[in-house]
Amino acid sequence: MLLLKMAFRNLWRRKSRTILTMIAIGFSYGLLLFFVQFTTGSHEGMIDTGVRMQAGHVVVQAKGYSEERKITENISKPELVLQQIKEIVPDSNVAQRIFLTGSLSSSSGNTILDNLVGVKPAVEKKISQIPEKLIKGKFLSGTKGEIVIGATAAKLLKVDLGMKVQLSISDVNGNIKRSALRVRGIFKTGGLTVDRGYALISLKQTQELTKMDSAVTQLAIFTDLASSEKIASRLKTKLNTTELDVLHWRDAMPMLAQMLWVDTISMYVFLFIILGIVSAGILNTVLMSVMERTREFGVLKSIGMSPWRIFMLIMYEAVFTAIIAIFVGMILGLSLSYYLSIHGLDPAVFVEGEQGMEAAGIPMTNLMYSKVTLYSVVWTAISVIVLSVLSALPPSIRAFRIKPVKAVRDL
């Protein structure tokens, strides 16, 4: 107890130095905490946009569909599979979709559609972000002959609400099918390829045009991100996997998964640099403090304090410094993180002008939110404490080895 008291009081012997060190460590910790929480939050945001537009948290599709994305590789009886899924994951939303490529033309121009998606409007409204991104008109009502297109496509086709466009797609036999559709809504996500090449029509009409009967190419399951992996493996064991593929969102959207992985790696590199600064700060302060007190340690050893106790004294000093700094940093990091978890950050601040932001085919124009979690607070704090212990090792060993006879020269 007396040792702890000594360690704590020793911190304040060189007040300004200790406070400066604490500010440096606290600031680094705050930055680290904020960065971890912001990266986690923004990644979850991107995954959310991705799963809503292109996949689901878990995707069920016909075996072999991933390879060429041919509509002939489809789920012929989706209602049956849907029922099975609902039994396994009762509280999930499941969207039936058909993904196609095709083209749109008007009297004034034409454009390629990379993703023409046939959807059930009622289900899709609960899931998709497109209804929120409409700048004109409404989302699909379910009536035949409607299409929702992006703002860039509308501009290229020089069409507006209520105007007709001609859709060309291939059916399951490879024959070209054309259909005249009326523009019901125009959306703008900010993503260039999405606003140009993503369009939605009703599932029923897609099935009729492609002659797919009741088949779909994708059953997209929406649950929550945290349990998605477990659900994917449960579905893999329960569904008929000789005919069906069950994919976790990471496998369904490998480009996005890879991009997030690279981003996570760069986050760790950044953390490593920050922790390096913290480490240098602690090492410098503790080492200076040990060197200044050589004589004092000699006296303490002379009166019978064991080298281990001296070692622990230095360790306590380093840990106290880190703990106080962590509290200071926590206030800073959490305030910033909390603010951005409520208000979000517009990614437009990172980009100049009107250029669309996209990553792995997913628009990145939604506000980026930070995610405040106790877990991230705890693991970052523990990292800083462990690091401070490691950084204090060399000076503590130095103090451990001080020979009292040399330290107390004038005995």
Binding site: M1, L2, V299, I303, M305, L411
Partner: protein, 232 residues
């Protein structure tokens, strides 16, 4: 006959300073009995410091034997030496050397805490000894808030509180004016008599030599004189 607290036999210590060998002690044989109040004097470089380091278990001799409180020191490990220092030896340094972040009370308490004495007992022992050295009222002061004489009295209280077999005092009066020095010596003499604690000083100070009951003079690493004076 009183028991020996210190016994040295043919103690030699040679330091190597680069290529030069310095023979600090050239064969010291001496015995100090329990309850003695002995001063070691001698000019600078005569080996006083080195001899006290050997007796204080802070260093090992090159050859010869040192026995403190019945224990052979020369072959002890560092931990054993630290243990012997903690339980058997008290130190009073020239520059007081109190722990600056601890109060007078806590400085005294430190030794007892290291020995593992329980808190209640520690409190009683510390307050008693601080009263004995006349500093009970200053118990909550830190060293920086006390005069040199007061700090040295705390240092003596720290050395004495655990009732060690031996107290080694290095020039304890060197930084004090003569009146304060005399009061300190008076106090140490009283502790010596009341508690039968052995004191061994290294000193240049004539007053310390006058107070001591035995005076050992060193010269060139050897004992020149060993005078047992009339008990005061």
């Amino acid at each position: 006959m009183s028991k020996n607290i210190i016994k040295t036999q043919a103690v030699k210590k040679t330091f190597e300073q680069g290529k030069i060998k310095v023979r600090a002690l050239r064969g010291i044989d001496m015995e100090v009995k329990k309850g003695e109040f002995t001063a070691i004097s001698g000019p600078s470089g005569s080996g006083k410091t080195t001899l006290l380091n050997m007796i204080g278990c802070l260093d090992n001799p090159t050859s010869g034997q040192v026995e403190v409180a019945g224990k052979e020191v020369s072959k002890m490990s560092k931990t054993q030496m630290a243990n012997l220092r903690l339980h058997k030896i008290g130190f009073v340094f020239q520059a007081y050397n109190l722990v600056p972040v601890l109060t007078a009370f806590e400085n005294v308490e430190l030794v007892l805490a290291l020995q593992g004495v329980d808190k209640k007992k520690r409190k009683k022992l510390c307050l008693d000894i601080l009263e004995e050295v006349g500093l009970k009222e200053l118990a909550s002061r830190r060293p920086a808030e006390m005069s040199g004489g007061q700090q040295q009295r705390v240092a003596v209280a720290r050395a004495v509180v655990a009732k060690p077999a031996l107290i080694l005092a290095d020039e304890p009066t060197a930084n004090l004016d003569s009146e304060t020095g005399a009061r300190l010596l008076e106090m140490m003499r009283k502790l010596n008599k009341d508690h039968n604690i052995t004191f061994l000083f290294s000193t240049h100070d004539k007053m310390v030599m006058d107070y001591s009951s035995r005076l050992i003079s060193l010269s060139d690493g050897m004992i020149k004189n060993d005078i047992l004076k009339q008990q005061n």
